[in-house]
């Protein structure tokens, strides 16, 4: 009996299917909010689902010079990375399905695994656009990864543990967004960098390099990559909401906080212009890192006195 319940919770409830459905719903919410900001109607509620089903049905063309095994396996690894990252995160306000001390670092690197898979997919297909897209994806990973991780480690240090579950319970009592506003801003903007939202969507700037790293993908491969990005959206939102916005104790709070975060993200997306890749790297290394280090300094001083 005790093997069915975790299996069920893994496959059905907080795990696989609901997570995928939730990811698609959040992707729809993001596109709908962006449309709302731009005074237009936006997609129907089931549009991401319809896209995924259509892509799954479509024939997948594998470019001949690309390595066939890599081409087909990379999307699966990306999706797997996203889904396993969801294990450690308090989805839907419930306790994380599985947790061990230090799983914050593991979650973040599982999410970066996803972006690395996209970079690899780009270089593997040897198409000009995807080569440029892959270089940009990897450059961007190296630019936002450090500040984003540091911004998430500050609450871990204040909470005294590196396990997301414990940080979440600690965060329920202290609203870290008030205590560490700079850390919150950097984490939020880092999340936009990870999800490649507008100011940082140079890797898939369709006016310059068509679809960036995923130019050669169609059919199943593209569907899995899109699903992985949707899952990453949900996991990222819950992570930042759980840590900074005073924890997600029950599903209602979880919904309110993640949607509030999504609203701010969509607002920032609507507001800003796409940055060139050298400008994003410059922005991150110049401002992002200094802000986060400042926050660390403040934290150390407070701990000292």
């Amino acid at each position: 009996m005790n093997t069915i319940l975790p299996l069920l919770s893994l496959a059905i409830f907080p795990g696989g299917l609901t997570l995928l459905a939730g990811g698609l719903a959040y992707e729809w919410a993001d596109r709908k909010l962006l449309a709302l900001f731009q005074n237009r109607v936006g997609p129907r509620w089931f549009q991401p689902l319809a896209d995924t089903v259509k892509l799954l049905a479509k024939e997948e063309i594998i470019p001949d010079r690309a390595n066939k095994f890599l081409f087909t396996s990379l999307p699966l690894i990306a999706l797997a990375g996203g889904l396993t990252a969801a294990l450690y995160v308090p989805l839907a306000g419930l306790r994380p399905a599985y947790g061990f001390s230090g799983d914050l670092i593991v979650t973040l690197y599982l999410l970066s695994l996803l972006t690395l898979c996209m970079g690899l997919a780009g270089t593997n297909t040897l198409d000009r656009f995807s080569m440029i897209g892959a270089t940009r994806t990897l450059t961007q990973v190296f630019s936002y990864e450090a500040p984003f991780l540091l911004a998430l480690l500050i609450p871990a240090v204040t909470a005294g543990s590196w396990q997301i579950g414990e940080i979440a319970t600690y965060a329920q009592s202290h609203w870290l967004v008030v205590l560490q506003p700079v850390g919150f801003v950097v984490a939020l903007v880092g999340l936009m960098g990870k999800l490649e939202m507008t100011p940082f969507d140079a890797p898939e700037a369709h006016t310059e390099i068509a679809a960036g790293a995923l130019t050669e993908y169609s059919g199943r491969g593209l569907a899995f990559f899109r699903l992985a990005k949707a899952v990453e959206l949900v996991v990222g939102l819950t992570l930042v909401a759980a840590i900074y916005l005073g924890g997600v104790s029950n599903p209602l709070w979880f919904l309110v906080k993640t949607l509030a975060l999504l609203l701010t993200l969509a607002g920032i997306q609507a507001l800003l212009t796409r940055l060139r890749i050298d400008q994003t790297v410059g922005l991150w290394w110049r401002y992002g890192t200094i802000l986060v280090l400042l926050q660390w300094l403040v934290l150390i001083l407070i701990r000292r006195i």
């Binding site: 900001f37 731009q38 000009r128 310059e208 609507a270 212009t273 050298d278």
Partner: protein, 398 residues
């Protein structure tokens, strides 16, 4: 990085079908990492042999053929053609018709510049500005539909005059529309010149000096942004521009931001001009009698299209079909300069540089293709070199 060995130079082709280009035109940029080192453009994908077709239609049918050279500047093509044929036939369109022609031309300029603001913002990835400027462009298209009966190919012109008249009700509708558009244009001017994120993509990019612009033959707003004072409406006023003079919008910086500034200033100039025309519209009928057979002769007519100087040459042999009809559109001349400017910039800036000259490939595709080969002598000659070249040429001949 992906490739750490000597980065092999490969060519990115922003090909005939590419999201950055709204119309087919193939650009090939040899890229070293992200920096463009060589540019090559090949057009002709939307070539329809309009000049040959024009020789097989009679004068009236040619008017509607030439309106379809370009979707956005269809009225200015028709106006240039009508003025040229009327000059051949020694017919003078009545003053009211000339004023309405200028009014519809200025409305079309507003329509074209709003569309261009959206397209360039989209190239830069600023989709909100794209959505809002195209929403506001609907207002000017509705005005044109109410005035002339069609949103895009207005066919307001007929040989010898104009089809549509302006009554009091039209005037109030146009004036209200203009107030809304002017307020929006002021807001966009503020956004385009102050938004720090957008300025990172436009300020100091693709700077073209005045000398470079003149030697490479850049024309229209792109040239005026580099302080080249050349505007056909002021140099050789046609239609009613003699009664309604305009002020030229000039800028000295010559970079992408200057091109935005010049075009939006032209918008304000158009608003003022339309209000002035509506206030003092001359009375009189709308068309003058036109013979079906145009007497033999040649005529050169130049008008100011939203993208620059549009040149028409018509030779007639007295029959009801033109002997030869040559259309030289503005985007051709700017294409020379855009290719030279793209070299040395980031690949990410290239769509913005291409959009900077407001390319209209369907206009273009009547003519151009141009290659920038690695030649020993740079083929841009400054005025000084030209002067020395001329003198050297003289001595060699003596």
């Amino acid at each position: 990085m992906a490739t750490n060995k000597e980065p092999e130079r490969f060519t990115i082709s922003i090909g005939p079908q590419h999201p950055a280009l709204k119309e087919p035109g193939s650009f090939q940029f040899t890229v070293d990492g992200e920096i463009v080192t060589k540019a090559y453009v090949r057009l002709g994908y939307a070539h329809r042999g309009i000049e040959k077709a024009a020789e097989q239609r009679n004068w009236i049918q040619d008017l509607y053929l030439l309106e379809r050279v370009c979707g956005i500047c269809s009225h200015i093509h028709a106006t240039a053609y009508c003025l040229a044929v009327e000059e051949l036939a020694h017919v003078e369109a009545p003053p009211r018709a000339q004023a309405i022609r200028v009014l519809v031309a200025e409305l079309e300029r507003i329509h074209s510049h709003f569309l261009w603001i959206g397209v360039s913002a989209h190239e830069a990835g600023f989709d909100t500005l794209f959505m809002y400027s195209w929403r506001d462009r609907e207002t000017v298209m509705d005005l044109l539909e109410r005035l002339t009966g069609n949103r895009v190919n207005y066919s307001a012109n007929v040989l010898g005059g104009v089809k549509c008249d302006i009554d009091a009700e039209q005037t109030t509708a146009i004036l209200d529309g203009l107030n809304f558009l002017e307020e929006r244009a002021r807001h966009y001017f503020d956004v385009l010149t102050n938004d720090s994120m957008f300025l990172q993509r436009t300020r100091g990019i693709a700077v073209m000096s005045r000398n470079q612009a003149e030697v490479m033959g850049a024309i229209g707003p792109t040239a005026r942004a580099s302080n080249v004072a050349r505007d056909v409406r002021i140099e050789s006023p046609y239609a009613a521009y003699t009664q309604y003079p305009i002020k030229m919008a000039l800028d000295t910086r010559g970079d992408l931001e200057a091109r935005f500034v010049v075009r939006v200033n032209e918008l304000f100039e158009s608003f003022r001009l339309i209000r002035q025309i509506l206030a003092t519209l001359p009375e009189g009928e709308l068309t003058a009698r036109m013979p079906r057979r145009v007497p033999a002769g040649e005529v050169v007519k130049r008008v100011e299209a939203p993208r620059g100087e549009l040149y028409y040459f018509i030779k007639s042999n007295g029959t009801d079909k033109p002997e030869r009809l040559k259309v030289r559109t503005p985007t051709i001349c700017n294409m020379t300069s855009v290719i030279k400017l793209a070299v040395g910039h980031q690949l990410a800036d290239v769509p913005m540089i291409l959009a900077g000259i407001d390319p209209c490939f369907s206009c273009n595709d009547r003519t151009v293709e141009l290659t920038d080969t690695d030649r020993k002598t740079s083929n841009i000659m400054t005025w000084e070199e030209l002067r020395r070249y001329g003198i050297k040429f003289y001595e060699a001949r003596k």
